[in-house]
C-alpha cells in the first residue's frame, strides 16, 4: 500500500521536476563542456614539455619556473597586486559606509535613488566607463600636471564599490536591528554599539565584499587598458600583450596560477558569505 503511494508520489515529482524534462541532461553536459573544457586544456598544456600549446609531448613544470623568473611577469603581477590591494581597501571602506547608511538609518527621501546610483556602474557597459574615465582623467592630468598610478587605482576603486557593496548590504539586512538596540539599552554609546556589535556581526559580509572587490580589480582588462599609463601594465594586460606575440605555455602557466588564486578567493567568499542567521533561535 505504502509502496504504491510512494510510486505515485514519485511520478508527480518527476512530472514537475525540470531535471526530468527531455534533453535536459544533454544541454547540461554541453554547457559544462563549453565552460570548462577550454580551462582544462589551458591547465593541461601549462604542464607540456613542448613549446606547442596544441601538441602534447610529456609532463614538465618548466614553464612555471620560466614564468616565475620572467621579469615582465613579476613586475606586472606586482602592479596588479598593488592596485588590487589599495582599490580593495578603499572600495570596501566606502561600500561599508554606503551599506550602513542605506540599512541603519530611518528611510530618508532619496534613499532608493542612492541605492540605485551605487549599483549603477554594474549596468553601464565597461567600455563606456573606460572611455569616459580616460577622457575625464586626461582633463585633470592636463589641468594639474599630475600623473602616476593613483589614477589607475582611483578608477579601480570606483568600479569595485558596487561589487563590495552588495554582500555587505545583504549581511546588514539580515542582521536583526534589535541586537544593536539591546547594546544601546545596555549603556553602549553609538560608537561602542558599532565597535562591539555591528562591526563584528557584519564582518563576514565585509570580508566577502573585500575579496570580491580584489578579484574584480585583478581581473580587469578594459578599464586598465584605457586608464593605465606607461609602466602601469597589470597582469591581465601583460598576458594580452604576450598572446599577441604568439602563445607559449608560459602564458598557460601564468593563467593557471591566476585561476588558482581566483578559485581560492571565490571559495573563501562563499564560505564567509554563507547566510548564517544572526537572530537567536526561537525556542523549540
Amino acid at each position: 500500500m505504502s509502496d504504491l503511494s510512494n510510486t505515485a508520489h514519485n511520478k508527480v515529482r518527476q512530472a514537475k521536476d525540470l531535471k526530468y524534462q527531455p534533453g535536459f541532461s544533454y544541454i547540461t553536459w554541453l554547457a559544462l563542456f563549453i565552460l570548462y573544457a577550454p580551462i582544462l586544456i589551458l591547465v593541461l598544456y601549462s604542464f607540456n614539455a613542448n613549446r606547442s600549446v596544441v601538441v602534447w609531448t610529456s609532463f614538465s613544470t618548466d614553464w612555471y619556473v620560466k614564468a616565475w623568473h620572467n621579469e615582465g611577469i613579476q613586475s606586472a603581477a606586482l602592479i596588479s597586486l598593488e592596485v588590487a590591494v589599495i582599490a580593495m581597501v578603499l572600495s570596501t571602506t566606502f561600500a561599508t559606509m554606503a551599506a550602513l547608511v542605506t540599512t541603519r538609518t530611518p528611510p530618508y527621501k532619496g534613499m532608493n535613488i542612492s541605492i540605485a546610483i551605487i549599483n549603477q556602474p554594474l549596468m553601464i557597459p565597461e567600455i563606456v566607463t573606460a572611455v569616459a574615465t580616460l577622457i575625464f582623467f586626461a582633463v585633470i592630468k592636463k589641468a594639474t600636471g599630475a600623473n602616476g598610478i593613483g589614477f589607475l587605482i582611483t578608477a579601480h576603486t570606483v568600479f569595485c564599490i558596487p561589487f563590495a557593496y552588495m554582500p555587505i548590504r545583504a549581511r546588514l539586512e539580515d542582521m536583526d536591528l534589535s541586537l544593536e538596540q539591546a547594546a544601546a539599552d545596555l549603556y553602549a554609546s553609538p560608537l561602542m554599539v558599532f565597535k562591539r556589535v555591528t562591526l563584528p556581526l557584519m564582518m563576514p559580509g565585509v570580508l566577502s565584499g573585500a575579496m570580491l572587490a580584489f578579484i574584480v580589480s585583478v581581473d580587469d582588462v578594459v578599464i586598465s587598458l584605457f586608464v593605465g599609463g606607461p609602466g602601469e601594465t597589470t597582469l591581465p594586460l601583460y598576458i594580452l600583450g604576450q598572446i599577441r606575440r604568439g602563445v607559449t605555455p608560459e602564458v598557460n602557466a601564468v593563467s593557471t596560477v591566476f585561476l588558482g588564486i581566483s578559485v581560492i578567493l571565490v571559495t573563501l567568499i562563499f564560505l564567509f558569505g554563507r547566510p548564517k542567521s544572526t537572530r537567536p533561535e526561537k525556542s523549540q
Binding site: S178, L179, A184, L186, Y187, A188, S189, P280, S283, Q284
Partner: protein
C-alpha cells in the same frame, strides 16, 4: 520606609506617540497616556496586539521619542536622553542575545559599558548566573542554548547592571506552555529577590493576572483601566476590559437607583439586583450594559429573585461544567459550575432552570 514603598519609579504624563506627520494622516500608537508605576512593583501592560503597549515600553526605554508628553524615571526627566543614558534595561521579545559572544560575555556587556572594573564584573556575572540557575553554562555560545536557557540569559544580562526599572517585552511568548508557566513563577521570584521594578508587556490575560501587582489594560493606544488583578477582574469598568479578561456575560439593564453603595439595576428579564458602579466615572443613568462572571451564577430551587432560562448546551471541562442558558429575553448567558465531590445536581439540555446571582456580582460597564 512607608514613603520609600510608594515612591514612583516611572511616571508617564499625558504622553502621545504618533507615527507619521499628524494625528489625521499618521498612526496614533500611544494616545494621551498617564501612568504612575510604583517602586518595587510588578506592573503589567495588557492588551491585544497593536494596542500600543510595546510602543509605550519603547518610549520608556528610549528607542522612540514621544510626540507629546513627558516620562520621568524616579523624578528625573527622560526626554531627549538616548537609550544608553537611561538606567532601564530591556528583555526583548526574541531576547536579542549577541550571537558572537558567550553567555558570560553577554551578561558582562552592560557592566563593561558602565566602566565597572573586571573583578567586580566577574563577581556580578557569577552572581547573575546563580540567580537564573545556570552557572554551568557560562562559556556556552548562544546558539547552543535552548529557548528557555536563552530566556534566562536575557534576564541575567538585563538585570546585571542593576537597572532602576526592568522592561520586559512579551518575553514568554516564544516559549511553550510548560516552560512559560515555569518562567512565570521564576520572573516573580526574580522580582522579589532583586527588588527591581518590573514593567511587563503581554497580551495574555492569565499571565497578567497571575504575575502582576497591578495591571493596566490598553486598547487603541489608551489605558482603559489600571488596578490590582482582582479589581480589574471583578470590577471591570469598561465593556472592552470585561470582555478581554476572562469569560463574562454582558447583559442589557436599566439603572433604577444610582445612590452610592445602593445602586440597583433592572435587567431586561425583569430581574432586579444590587449593582456596582464603575470607579472614577461620572454620572451614569438609564440603559446600561452590565457584566456578570459565569462563576458568580448558580442554580436555584426558588423562583424568587432568580432568572429563569432554558439550558441550551452543557460542556464538561474537567474541573467543572459550563452551561449555555437562554433567558426569556432571548439573551444567552454562561454559567460555570465547579465540581464539588460528586454531589453536583445534574441538569440536561432543554431543562428549565432558575439562576441565582451572587452578591456584588453585577458590574455596571461604561461602553
Amino acid at each position: 520606609m512607608l514613603e520609600k514603598a510608594t515612591r514612583s519609579a516611572i511616571e508617564v504624563r499625558s504622553t502621545t506617540k504618533i507615527y507619521g506627520n499628524d494625528r489625521a494622516s499618521g498612526v496614533v500608537a500611544v494616545d494621551d497616556v498617564s501612568l504612575e508605576i510604583t517602586d518595587n512593583e510588578f506592573f503589567t501592560l495588557l492588551g491585544p496586539s497593536g494596542c500600543g503597549k510595546t510602543t509605550l515600553l519603547r518610549l520608556i526605554a528610549g528607542f522612540e521619542q514621544p510626540t507629546q508628553g513627558e516620562i520621568l524615571l524616579f523624578g528625573e526627566h527622560l526626554e531627549g536622553l538616548p537609550p544608553h543614558n537611561r538606567s532601564v534595561n530591556t528583555v526583548f521579545q526574541h531576547y536579542a542575545l549577541f550571537p558572537h559572544m558567550t553567555v558570560s560575555q553577554n551578561i558582562s556587556f552592560g557592566l563593561e559599558m558602565l566602566g565597572i572594573d573586571k573583578i567586580e564584573i566577574r563577581k556580578t556575572v557569577s552572581r547573575m548566573l546563580e540567580l537564573v540557575q545556570m552557572p554551568q553554562l557560562a562559556d556556552r555560545k548562544i546558539n547552543q542554548l535552548s529557548g528557555g536557557q536563552q530566556q534566562r540569559v536575557a534576564l541575567a544580562r538585563a538585570l546585571a547592571p542593576n537597572p532602576k526599572v526592568l522592561l520586559l517585552d512579551e518575553p514568554l511568548s516564544a516559549l511553550d506552555f510548560k516552560l512559560r508557566k515555569e518562567m512565570q513563577s521564576e520572573l516573580k521570584r526574580l522580582q522579589n529577590e532583586t527588588g527591581i521594578t518590573f514593567i511587563f508587556v503581554t497580551h495574555d490575560q492569565e499571565e497578567a493576572l497571575t504575575m502582576s501587582d497591578r495591571v493596566a489594560v490598553m486598547k487603541d493606544g489608551q489605558v482603559l483601566q489600571v488596578g490590582k488583578p482582582r479589581e480589574v477582574y471583578d470590577h471591570p469598568a469598561q465593556r472592552f476590559v470585561a470582555d478581554f479578561i476572562g469569560d463574562i456575560n454582558i447583559l442589557r439593564g436599566e439603572l433604577i437607583s444610582t445612590k452610592k453603595g445602593e445602586a440597583k439595576v433592572k435587567l431586561a428579564s425583569g430581574f432586579v439586583g444590587d449593582a456596582i458602579l464603575p470607579i472614577g466615572v461620572g454620572d451614569i443613568s438609564g440603559v446600561v450594559n452590565v457584566a456578570i462572571r459565569p462563576e458568580q451564577l448558580s442554580f436555584s430551587n426558588s423562583t424568587n429573585s432568580t432568572l429563569p432560562g432554558i439550558i441550551k448546551e452543557i460542556t464538561y471541562f474537567g474541573s467543572g461544567l459550563h452551561y449555555e442558558i437562554e433567558l426569556s429575553t432571548g439573551e444567552t448567558i454562561k454559567l460555570r459550575q465547579q465540581s464539588v465531590g460528586r454531589s453536583n445536581t445534574e441538569f440536561s439540555s432543554g431543562e428549565t432552570v432558575n439562576i441565582a446571582v451572587a452578591d456584588d456580582a453585577i458590574q455596571v460597564l461604561v461602553d
